[in-house]
Structure formats: structure tokens, C-alpha cells
């Protein structure tokens, strides 16, 4: 199995790459963190690039296509910018949308144009549980994660004709640097899912199905509740995240 993982130098992306290698697959790893890529070890095909550079995405997609074809592509790279909407500089919010939404759509277009995803393979987008819960205090992040989930859903039928599965992953809080930087301070850490457990569950799901997938039983229960009562879910998120983010500033 040959896999491409974006944002592979840290967090969930790194765990996904390690899970691919453990299962005997070969890995193409993309990240903007060159040192982090070098630490992945010998045998990994690495590419350092900044996905915020929208003008470079076509060339980057062609470069990645040339390193394929892939049985698994995981559009995982993502950033966040938290705080009250009007207080977070708009350039930061623009970067969130460029990296989390524009880049995976453009890379997908380039890979499909070059037939770089094999029939029988899987295209995976990492969205967020905030698709169901919402996430006051990270409005542009929710926009990007909601948008990419809708993009994935729109591709499901056309790509099924090419025998490519499209899986959208909606992780809750993971025990990664991302959560450390963007979750409000507090004792939440032990409730976060370990990234390697999430990675294994994601690879298993990607090998057999399309659709939306929430790793972990706790997050899955939250997602079900939030779909039943979206207003309540958003109100709870406002209380447990937005107010604490405000208080922490």
C-alpha cells in the first residue's frame, strides 16, 4: 500500500504515517516543518511545502501525483486560530481557510486530474467533530472543517464510479499539540483521545467504507447527541470553550 499524508510531521498526521509504515505500506509525507519531516526516518518520501501558498498548489499537486499512484490519500494538514471572531486578525483566519479548505480541494483536483488515486483506493479528509457540535471561538476553523466535509460528501458519488472511497473523519479533541495550543486551559487533557489510537481506527475505516467517521466511542456519542439537539450542543460549546477562551485572554 502506498499512502500520502499531509501534515505528517506531528499530531494525528504523524500517527497516521506511522500506522501506514507499521502495516508495511510506503509513505509520502508532506508538511511545512522540514525538521519534523527529517525526524520521520529513512525510507519516507518527504516533501516540505506550505499549503498556505495557494499559487503553488497546482505544481505541488503535480509533484505529489508524480510520487503516486496512491492507495490511500489523507488530507490531514490543518491549523486553527482561536478567540473571539472580531479579535482574531483576519489574515490568520484567511490562512485557516487557505490551509484547511482551499488546499485539500486543489490537491484533490490535481491528484484526480492525473489519475493518482488507484481504483480500490481511499481518499480521506480530516474534518472535525465541530461539524456537529459547532465551535464558538473558532468560527473560521468551523467554516473550513464544515466546508471540507461538504466537499467530501459531494465527491462520494462521482468517485464511487472510479471505485475510490471517500471518507470524512470527524475527530473530537485529540491529545496533540493542536489541542494543547487551542483548547482552553483546564483538566481536559485526560479526556482527549491518543492520536495513535485514532490513526489505527481511521486506517481501518478507510480500508472498507465511505461516509463520515467519528473515531472513539465518547466522541461518537457526542456527535449523535449533537445531531439530535444542535442548539443545545452549540450552547454547551459556548459555555465550555468560548467563555473559557475569553476568560483566558
Amino acid at each position: 500500500m502506498r499512502a500520502l499524508v499531509t501534515g505528517a510531521a506531528a499530531g494525528l498526521g504523524r500517527a497516521l504515517g506511522e500506522a501506514v509504515l507499521e502495516s508495511g505500506g510506503s509513505l509520502v509525507a508532506l508538511d511545512r516543518d522540514e525538521a519534523g519531516l527529517a525526524a520521520l526516518g529513512y525510507g519516507v518520501n518527504v516533501l516540505a511545502a506550505d499549503l498556505a501558498d495557494t499559487a503553488a498548489l497546482d505544481g505541488l499537486g503535480d509533484d505529489l501525483a508524480g510520487r503516486g499512484p496512491y492507495d490511500l490519500v489523507v488530507m490531514n494538514a490543518g491549523i486553527n486560530a482561536t478567540g473571539p471572531f472580531e479579535a482574531v486578525p483576519i489574515a490568520k483566519q484567511g490562512a485557516v481557510i487557505a490551509i484547511n479548505l482551499t488546499a485539500p480541494m486543489a490537491l484533490t483536483a490535481a491528484l484526480l486530474r492525473r489519475d493518482a488515486i488507484s481504483p480500490g483506493g481511499a481518499l480521506v479528509f480530516v474534518s472535525s467533530l465541530s461539524r456537529f457540535l459547532s465551535y464558538p471561538g473558532a468560527a473560521s476553523y468551523v467554516a473550513s472543517k464544515h466546508g471540507i466535509a461538504v466537499f467530501a460528501k459531494s465527491l462520494r458519488r462521482p468517485l464511487a464510479k472510479q471505485r475510490i472511497r471517500v471518507l470524512t473523519v470527524l475527530p473530537g479533541a485529540l491529545d496533540t499539540g493542536h489541542a494543547e495550543r487551542h483548547a482552553p486551559p483546564g483538566p481536559g487533557r485526560k479526556r482527549r483521545m491518543a492520536p495513535d489510537a485514532a490513526a489505527k481506527a481511521i486506517l481501518a475505516a478507510a480500508s472498507r467504507r465511505s461516509g463520515e467517521f467519528v473515531p472513539g466511542a465518547g466522541p461518537r456519542a457526542l456527535a449523535a447527541l449533537a445531531r439530535l439537539a444542535p442548539g443545545v450542543a452549540t450552547a454547551v460549546m459556548r459555555r465550555v470553550i468560548f467563555k473559557k477562551l475569553n476568560a483566558a485572554d
Partner: protein, 245 residues
């Protein structure tokens, strides 16, 4: 019994983007009739507007250029407005094509107009909206839950839906936030998008009906709201009961 929005927009300071055609044009006409103090923004040059365009402030601005927020702040100051009661983000583009036929520039362009523009403009105008306890209205689409013919367009409208839900929670009690999802409407957008709806077009709402239903939903303030035939029929029923207005 009167229609709920009879005096809702009178004297209100309102900005409408995407006002030079389609639903945006229908909206500024109706808001003008209802006595709103309007600033209309569109991509078209003022000389290309229809001859019966209302006598209101019109500015030709390309919202995808990224600097529309600061430009609007200047225009608001020039107009002498000390606050903003309502902004309706109508401007939008889309292409009907498989994703493999898109490239980075076309995708970034759709994201810039449909998603970044309303977000950055709202960011720039937040202080004006807060001063007037105003409201911001985002316009999604019936495609916001996914559409295999328009994957990038659907993604940008889905993004806006997620954004509006989070911001509505953040701004609760300060600034109104609403997203409306108009159903298919008889505008030039489908032709520009390269989409031929064929005989289905006969079922599409007229731009005037869509705009009237949207104004009613804006006056009511609930979110999210679909603007389809159901909304138009409800609006007509209320008008009949209210005495044929």
C-alpha cells in the same frame, strides 16, 4: 394584522453585496421601496446597471479582491453613518463541473468570493454592527449539504453555514447572525456556472419572490432558514390574510 416586515427596514442603514443582478438586485429594489437607507455593492460598473436601478448609493467593488472590508469602512464614514443596521452578503459565484476540471486558481476564486469575502467584510464591519445592535445575513444555498455537480461551490456554502452557526453563538445578544439558504432561483447564475437546469427551470423561484421571502425571514431573525416555494407560499398566505398587501 400586518406583514411583519412592513416598517422593519424603513430608515435602516443597509449594505447589500451582489446587488447588480439576480436576487441582490431584487432585494435592493424591495428595500428601497420599503424606505431603507441603502448602499449597494456589485461587480458591475455603474454604467452597466439596468436603467431602472433605484436611485441609491451604488459602488462597483469586486468582493473577491480581499480589501473590500476597509473600503466599506471608508464608504460608511463618507456616508456619515455612525453604525450599520444590516448587511446582506449576496455576492456569490459557482461552477458546475467535476472537481478534476478545477484548478487552484478557480477553487481559490470561488472560496474568495463565497467564503472569505463575507467573513472578512463582517470582520471589518463588526464595530459598526455592534454600535447599531445590527445584524449580518449570510446567504448559503440549497447545495450547502453537498452537491455532486458543484463540489467546490457546495463546499463554500457549507463553510458559510458552519461559520454562521458558530458566529451566531458568539454574538448572541449583541449582533444578529443569520444564514438563509435560497432554493434554485431564476437568475443568470446557472448560465454563468455552466449549468443547464433544463425543464426544471420552470420550477425555480423568481428573483422577486426569493427576495421577498428572504426579507420576511430577515425580519423574523431565525436561522438557518430555507427560502423555497414553502416560504413563498407562507408569505403569500400571510399577505392575503393581512388584507391583500
Amino acid at each position: 394584522m400586518t406583514a411583519p416586515n412592513r416598517d422593519k427596514f424603513s430608515q435602516k442603514r443597509v449594505i447589500v453585496t451582489g446587488a447588480s443582478s439576480g436576487i441582490g438586485l431584487a432585494l435592493v429594489r424591495q428595500l428601497d421601496t420599503q424606505g431603507a437607507d441603502l448602499m449597494a455593492i456589485g461587480r458591475r460598473a455603474a454604467s452597466e446597471l439596468p436603467p431602472d436601478f433605484p436611485q441609491i448609493g451604488y459602488q462597483s467593488l469586486d468582493v473577491s479582491a480581499g480589501d473590500t472590508g476597509p473600503q466599506l469602512v471608508e464608504l460608511i464614514a463618507a456616508r456619515g453613518w455612525d453604525g450599520l443596521d444590516l448587511i446582506i452578503h449576496i455576492a456569490g459565484i459557482g461552477h458546475c463541473r467535476p472537481v478534476a476540471d478545477e484548478d487552484a486558481a478557480s477553487i481559490a476564486g470561488t472560496v474568495a468570493t463565497n467564503c472569505l469575502a463575507p467573513i472578512t467584510i463582517t470582520h471589518a464591519l463588526a464595530p459598526h454592527l455592534a454600535r447599531a445592535s445590527g445584524a449580518v445575513v449570510f446567504v448559503g444555498s440549497a447545495a450547502h449539504k453537498g452537491a455532486s455537480g458543484f463540489p467546490v461551490y457546495a463546499a463554500t456554502k457549507g463553510a458559510l453555514a458552519g461559520f454562521a452557526r458558530a458566529l451566531r453563538s458568539e454574538w448572541r445578544g449583541r449582533i444578529g447572525v443569520q444564514i438563509l439558504h435560497p432554493g434554485p432561483t431564476q437568475t443568470a447564475m446557472h448560465d454563468r456556472a455552466g449549468h443547464d437546469p433544463g425543464r426544471l427551470r420552470a420550477l425555480f423561484l423568481s428573483a422577486d419572490d426569493a427576495a421577498a421571502a428572504m426579507l420576511r425571514q430577515i425580519a423574523a431573525g431565525r436561522s438557518p432558514q430555507k427560502t423555497g416555494h414553502g416560504a413563498v407560499l407562507r408569505m403569500r398566505a400571510v399577505r392575503m390574510l393581512a388584507g391583500g398587501r
